[in-house]
């Protein structure tokens, strides 16, 4: 086996866990997340000769996963499957107040955190997770397919919504 190919696979495998976790939160289903990860690997290895050595492998793989997800959903849509509606950017300025209470956050349990995350609109869930994975504004804009200037506000709103959902669970 060629050493280069080996190296690509090794690097990709090292990222299998964050990729799968991301896929799982994106699709909300373990079966779909498995399919998504497998297709991501097939595409990534197929395109590995186009990966620029020294550039960000993680961002590259996350982008392939994201695009694969969108392609799969387009196909499902054609088959009459449903998809989430576009994010409702309703007036949630109230959430962005400065004096928000946070003590309760220490006591929320893992299941509630997952429920709150899954309850976020897809775009919000996406930016929250990508940011937490360590991607910067520019990378998130690229990965989430939105304008760079909107990342920051999307992110603060999404994180505020997450806190608000959690507050409801503990109430």
């Amino acid at each position: 086996m060629a050493a280069e190919e080996d190296k690509g696979l090794t690097e990709a495998l090292a990222l299998a866990e964050p990729l799968y976790d991301f896929a799982r939160y994106l699709t909300k289903s373990s079966a779909e997340a498995e399919d998504l990860l497998q297709e991501t690997f097939v595409r990534a290895l197929g395109a590995y000769d186009r990966f620029e050595p020294g550039s960000n492998m993680k961002a590259w793989l996350f982008r392939i996963l994201r695009n694969t997800f969108l392609d799969q959903r387009r196909r499902d849509k054609k088959r009459g499957g449903t998809s989430e509606l576009a994010e409702d950017m309703a007036n949630d300025d109230e959430l962005l107040r400065d004096d928000v209470e946070i003590d309760f956050l220490k006591h929320v349990v893992a299941e509630d955190i997952e429920r709150a995350l899954m309850g976020l609109p897809e775009e919000s869930r996406l930016v929250v997770l990508l940011d937490f994975e360590g991607f910067d504004e520019e990378e998130i804009a690229d990965l989430a397919g939105c304008a760079r200037g909107t990342v920051k506000s999307r992110l603060s709103r999404a994180r505020a919504r997450l806190r608000a959902s959690l507050a409801e669970y503990v109430r």
């Binding site: 086996m1 060629a2 050493a3 280069e4 190919e5 080996d6 696979l9 990709a12 495998l13 299998a16 866990e17 799968y20 976790d21 799982r24 939160y25 373990s30 997340a33 498995e34 399919d35 990860l37 497998q38 297709e39 690997f41 097939v42 290895l45 197929g46 590995y48 000769d49 196909r75 400065d98 004096d99 928000v100 946070i102 956050l105 220490k106 929320v108 893992a110 299941e111 955190i113 997952e114 995350l117 929250v128 940011d131 937490f132 360590g134 910067d136 920051k152 992110l155 994180r159 997450l162 806190r163 959690l166």
Partner: protein
């Protein structure tokens, strides 16, 4: 007095948590937080939110999934197996070419039948990942070979009995495409090496491995295969050791 306004300070709070501030910016932020209760609270909110995210259930890929990815068996459920196999074969070849690795294959067009390579790798994987991979543990070839009598419709003769570098682990009956094969399993350091022996008549045997003593060396999904034939029997050796090493191993086995 600090040089940051609240809006800028809030931006820096988040970047600070991600470790993306220069020491100068970090110093400015620290000074602002020391004197601004509003931004200090904002910093606590951000930290508490990160703490929550860190405690979310992490979904780990199953071991089976990792194994599939590892072996490039990962194939999109809606794409054809053949397409995926060709894709992998294509990558292996183009990367080998790019790396200046000379291909051992005689004819550039003889990549073998992808189904054949695929099956060899699948059989090897069944041995790797099955709970009881071996039907008979090795007490040496003299114990393993007779065990196949009545289980396969040929006598696997002149099988390499193993040595210190490549001890035999045992044997199993495998199914190779439409027929039974005798599988002999060896260990090379931490790598498993499988030798499948079967009647070759009617199988899509690689052209360059048709004649006695000729070998075909291929790669499929990250594994190397060496294929040869002797009379009516065909031999396929599969492992994840590299091409040169597996070729050297096959040299011990070919009469």
């Amino acid at each position: 007095m600090t040089t940051l306004d609240h809006a800028r300070a809030k931006e820096l709070v988040h970047e600070n948590l991600r470790g993306r501030l220069s020491s100068h910016e970090a110093g400015e932020l620290e000074a602002h937080l020391a004197s601004c209760e509003t931004c200090r609270h904002f910093d606590s909110v951000e930290r508490a939110t990160d703490d929550v995210l860190a405690r979310r259930p992490k979904h780990a890929p199953s071991r089976e999934l990792i194994a599939k990815l590892k072996t490039r068996a990962g194939e999109p459920p809606r794409a054809s197996r053949r397409r995926a196999a060709l894709l992998y074969a294509g990558i292996a070849c183009s990367l080998a070419a790019a790396a200046g690795v000379s291909l051992v294959v005689r004819s550039a067009r003889d990549h073998g039948d992808p189904r054949f390579q695929d099956e060899a790798v699948n059989d090897h994987l069944r041995i790797l990942y099955s709970e009881h991979p071996l039907d008979i543990a090795s007490g040496g070839v003299h114990q393993v070979r007779p065990w196949f009598e009545g289980k396969v419709d040929f006598a696997p003769m002149d099988i390499f009995e193993g040595d210190d570098e490549l001890p035999m682990q045992g044997g199993a009956v495998a199914v190779f495409m439409d027929r039974k094969a005798a599988a002999f399993v060896y260990k090379r350091r931490l790598h498993v090496v499988s030798l499948f022996v079967m009647r070759k008549e009617g199988l899509p045997w690689p052209r360059s491995a048709q004649c006695d003593g000729c070998t075909f060396v291929g790669t499929a999904r990250g594994f190397t295969t060496v294929t040869w034939s002797e009379g009516e029997l065909g031999y396929v050796l599969v492992s994840d050791v590299d091409k040169n090493e597996l070729t050297a191993i096959s040299a011990k086995m070919i009469r």
